[in-house]
Symmetry: C2
Subunit: 222 residues, 2 copies
């Protein structure tokens, strides 16, 4: 029962990876249709046209699949957003607007996925929660950099607040069925994120090289 032969023109590894991809795509559809909670292993396998055995061949369980998918989605989102920020020339506000517009447009382009990955993801599991947190730390750093013009140390609580605002706006927008134009959504997020410009100017005017002396005792990241 070794696994060594080519089959249908593909090596064992190729077949395994192909199945893995098939499962991921199927899972994405099922998540979008039923939500993560309602997505049973069987439903995903049916959608993929594969059996449970091949599910467990590539993933320890449903959560592991979701985690892999979520991680990839987050990376893509961050890349798109970073690119938009880099491409945008002009005032800090224009850069920040470009970042936020890229984010919300990305959601609007994939409504079912947006629902799953923005609204449901946070409480799928601690691991997913951690990825979401790290992703939005980076997202907010990009925003701060846009407003300030250079990489920036941010107060963790302020960063959390901005991230929370951006995400909550996304949630409400998604739940409303994208009832409002992107511009209105971006405007609200932009207005809130603008405190990054002011806040940074106040507290860290020259703190991007030397660490501030009055730093807090500890910094539990999340």
């Amino acid at each position: 029962m070794a696994t060594t032969r080519t089959y249908l023109g593909a090596s064992p590894e190729e077949r395994r990876l192909a199945r893995r991809e098939t499962l991921i795509k199927a899972a994405c559809d099922v998540y979008a249709l039923r939500g993560y909670r309602g997505a049973t292993v069987k439903a995903i396998c049916d959608e993929a046209g594969l059996t449970e055995r091949y599910f467990y061949e590539s993933f320890a369980n449903n959560e592991a699949l979701f985690l892999a998918l979520f991680q990839s989605v987050c990376e893509k989102m961050l890349n798109a957003v970073r690119a938009a920020g880099t491409a945008a020339a002009g005032t800090p506000e224009k850069k920040a607007r470009a970042i936020l517009t890229a984010y919300y447009r990305g959601l609007q382009a994939q409504p079912p996925q947006a629902r799953v990955f923005v609204i449901e993801a946070s409480d799928v599991s601690p691991a997913v929660h951690a990825i979401a947190g790290a992703t939005f730390e980076r997202f907010t750093d990009l925003l701060a950099e846009a407003w300030h013009g250079a990489p920036m140390r941010l107060d963790p609580m302020l960063r959390a607040g901005i991230a929370g605002a951006v995400v909550q706006i996304a949630r409400d927008w998604i739940e409303s069925g994208f009832a409002r134009p992107v511009k209105a959504v971006v405007d609200a997020a932009l207005r809130i994120s603008s405190v990054l410009g002011a806040a940074l100017d106040e507290t860290n005017s020259a703190a991007n090289k030397t660490k501030p002396v009055m730093t807090r005792k500890s910094e539990p990241s999340r």
Copy 2:
């Protein structure tokens, strides 16, 4: 099998309500200890010293109990916060600070409950989600009123953003084990909420009596 006798000095209704209260208190402890997901009906009943029969006598299911408890917690929180805002005299900023301080202090006073009701509550069920949403609409209205000096129509997206910021700051703070002083937390939230002052002055300078003419097409509440 009518239920009419006094028993241990209490009428049937009194006994039923006493059991209900016992269950609610027990549930609160179990939620705090294991989280909502880990709180089985049996665990709550064991903690209460009652049997499952009496659970279903007062609640349709676990979620119904949580909903009742959550609703009461939200009401108390809003009352406390409203009182703090009313009591605080002085500049808009001082009023807003009083509101936020009351909120975060309230969380700090009950760490396990804070974890459950701030972090877990949102995704217990759609009904709970709705309560949470409505609560923070009102919370943000209080903040806006503090900043502006009078009740105010708020852009829904802006309101969502502010609410998201306040809550996300709370979440991070709780997950850090309340690592930072309340003042630092309040400062961050206050800074973000300050856009309410600016935003309202811009868009609705005299709109608290007549509805603004340029109102948006529709307003899907959430």
